[in-house]
């Protein structure tokens, strides 16, 4: 149960095709494979081995891709660190994952103070030697590990195997098609499944990746319209900004442009109509870290008829709710589903009777379209990042002056949603002090945009916090 080494095979089969482009530079599969072998050799000299667990912390640059592909050649398990996390959060993940090395881009070295750190410049300085990559990859090999919080507020390290990523890429291809000349614009983080999965599709399809260090609405709009890219992954807010750029320039998407894949919740119908006028097909998707990216997709042709739907599953996947036709927990089955977690949650079974219990609530209509009614744990999606209320609540409850806390999402023009906190005090403290406290422990995008002191929080009969009720207080 193996695959041929994806990097070696891609270099052998379509070595002359463009693999990666960044600003004015580009690399073919043959070139990027050579670079990856060189990185693998250097990392090997530094002591990184097959099955080493290695964390990577970097911005979306070619060097990040080189290190990542080097680690794939070596056979590492890569813990993908979110560069926006606070030092506390990073420390938790690094310890929970018990990584042997932390490979850090030089610009981010201030983020981690740890003896396991190896800077990218230190890797590059190593003299390279001949390196013989693995010919075969086990299907159940863990390629990547990504932390996600979920209901408990405890970040859990989700394993994604080679088979998870392969199934995901193949299922996506069977849904939207592939062609040798495809180029996917990647302006979503590589450390998220949204960006990481673009690299995996690149290797499996032999597809070019146009990489941006940061999202840039104007450049994205230009490249969608000048035909240099064929696909792009977006969330609602980034799509809206691209549409504004296209409209402002009175442009039209190139005929070569095939689709944007839109995650992070339903796209407003107003955006869909604007996108149609711009010639940009929008495929709305529903997926999560545990399903290695998209699990269902809503076709463009169904978007108006099925507003708010997340569509139908990809070919290899199944989706159901507990009671057919009724709102219930969304269950998912397929080869894209993680085999489990690492560290503290390593023993937890992710599957029950073969199905992933997502914690999200939804229903499937009589034509088989999935509607997600409520994301698990009242998930807030802020500028493409998942923010879990429970995680913020846990931090605020750690402050000695705080008795109770409830967090919910508030609509934001810029980010889609932002977190807002309601706090019941047991001692005196100012809102400013609470915010400083949060900033020490949370990534900036998780820090509540507003903290309101209240007398009590809405709770149900069994005293469970009603976060949806909180939203009506806004």
């Amino acid at each position: 149960m193996t695959y041929p080494n994806w990097l070696s095979q891609r270099s052998y089969l379509s070595g002359d095709r463009m693999a990666l482009s960044f600003e004015q530079q580009q690399w073919t599969f043959s070139e990027i494979n050579k670079i990856a072998l060189d990185y693998a050799s250097k990392l090997s000299t530094l002591g990184v081995k097959e099955h080493s667990r290695v964390a990577i912390l970097a911005k979306s640059t070619p060097e990040f891709v080189f290190v990542l592909y080097g680690c794939m050649h070596l056979g590492c398990e890569m813990v993908m660190l979110n560069e926006r996390l606070s030092s506390n959060e990073l420390t938790y993940q690094l310890n929970d994952a018990e990584v042997a090395f932390i490979l850090v881009a030089d610009v981010l070295k201030i983020k981690v103070d740890d003896s396991r750190v190896v800077l990218f410049s230190e890797i590059e300085d190593v003299t390279s030697v001949q390196f013989q990559p693995q010919q075969q990859w086990a299907k159940d090999r863990t390629l990547s590990i990504m932390y996600t919080s979920g209901t408990t507020g405890h970040p859990k390290g989700v394993r994604q195997t080679a088979e998870n990523h392969f199934s995901s890429a193949v299922s996506s291809a069977l849904n939207i098609g592939i062609a040798p000349e495809d180029v996917w614009l990647c302006a979503v983080p590589l450390f998220h499944i949204s960006g990481f999965s673009i690299l995996m599709r690149s290797l499996i399809y032999g597809m070019g990746v146009r990489l941006y260090e940061k999202f840039d609405a104007e450049r994205s709009a230009e490249e969608i319209c000048d035909g240099s890219v064929t696909h792009m992954s977006v969330v609602g807010v980034t799509l809206e900004r691209i549409l504004t750029s296209v409209e402002r320039g009175s442009m039209q998407a190139s005929d070569r442009f095939k689709a944007v894949l839109a995650g992070g919740g339903p796209i407003p119908i107003a955006y869909m109509k604007r996108a149609e006028k711009c010639g940009i097909p929008v495929l709305q998707t529903y997926g999560m870290t545990e399903t290695s990216s998209q699990t269902t997709t809503l076709q463009v042709t169904d978007a108006e008829r099925k507003i708010g739907s997340a569509g139908k599953p990809l070919f290899l996947y199944e989706v159901k709710t507990e009671q057919p036709g009724e709102v219930g927990e969304i269950l998912i089955r397929g080869p894209q589903v993680t085999p489990g977690y690492i560290g503290e949650f390593a023993e937890r079974n992710v599957l029950q009777d073969g199905w992933l219990h997502t914690g999200d609530m939804g229903y499937i209509d009589n034509e088989g379209f999935l509607f997600v009614v409520d994301r698990r744990s009242d998930l807030i999606v802020s500028g493409g990042e998942n923010v879990y209320p429970a995680e913020i609540e846990k931090v605020l409850l750690g402050h000695s002056a705080v008795r109770e806390v409830g967090v919910c999402g508030a609509l934001s023009e810029q980010w889609g949603e932002v977190p807002i906190a309601f706090v019941v005090l047991q001692d005196e403290v100012t809102v400013a002090e609470l915010l400083v406290y949060c900033r020490e422990q949370l990534a900036a995008y998780k820090v509540p945009k507003k903290v309101t002191i209240v007398e009590s929080l809405p709770r149900n009969a069994s005293n469970k916090l009603l976060r949806r009720e909180l939203r009506t207080w806004l």
Copy 2:
């Protein structure tokens, strides 16, 4: 380790898309799935069950597809019978496979006299009842069984699992791309892997199949040029006839047309140049029944530079020879390789150290291109059918007047190659009598086009027949 039922899933996900077209009729995936469920219900009433081994004998008509899809819903193992075989040959396969039922198109009922026969009209006459198909298919489920002769002259029933077919379809997609609007023209037999694999791709991709009962050069040329099809499978002789039609009509392939997949040995460079002028991209492939269709493919762009090459493997596959760079037996590894045979050869291991030993000789050049030097057992490819010299020799040796026999292929304008026999006699017999004898026991296309009486046959030191030497006698 399962797939969602391909028919149900395709009908659910893209029910409105065209699945099959034949002459003036066409069926969507939703329609064909309903028909298949109806056939499954009727077959079930007749006693066909999950895991039943069922032989099918039919011409390439929609009814053949309906029966085949009905059997897939039921979970049968389908023995695909070649309608051109003689009764003796069919009897051998039916007994070796120990089939429970023989489903025979009415026009072919004269071919088989057996109590297990059920005619298509008899299936249709059954009253249908509600039928609940399997939701899940085991990956290692045997979907199809096809007989192939090989070196010994003994036909062996090759098993092809769901995973074999799925891997083959996915690997082909990763090579040539797929798009929701693709339509594959199928004028190769459905009972061969070449045709059967088109149906499997149809279900897995959601792709339309344009089915012909018989190859028709003029209609193929028209449909390639009018944009109604995007792909077609051919062999050298059929390609040549299509090119002649396109040229005669001063036509050009439509921009929508993507590629012909050409099997059965290298395509002459003269054809490649004519195809280029006609706007028809030709992908030469190398594969066999044991590898569930293509294993390597030569890209159009490499065809002139690498004349005679079979190209490079598909993404999931590996190909090697015993000594790198030297001529040796071609070895193949990948998820498309059969797990083994049934019947008399059920115990034979097809893999040695994980590799299929093809019996074909070849080498891989320094850029990684495979060249097939000699097909196993001096395989003769006649009008797209594989003809094994050993099988014809065995039949002729059964005649009491024959002492020795050697069969080889001779070039034919119409068929590419045809079999020719050289015979050493021990008793008197006329060539006409020998031909009558052959016709009783062999499919018409296997009967030698010429029989020459000779004094002795060319043999090597260990007395092995030198079939290649025979060719120089022509």
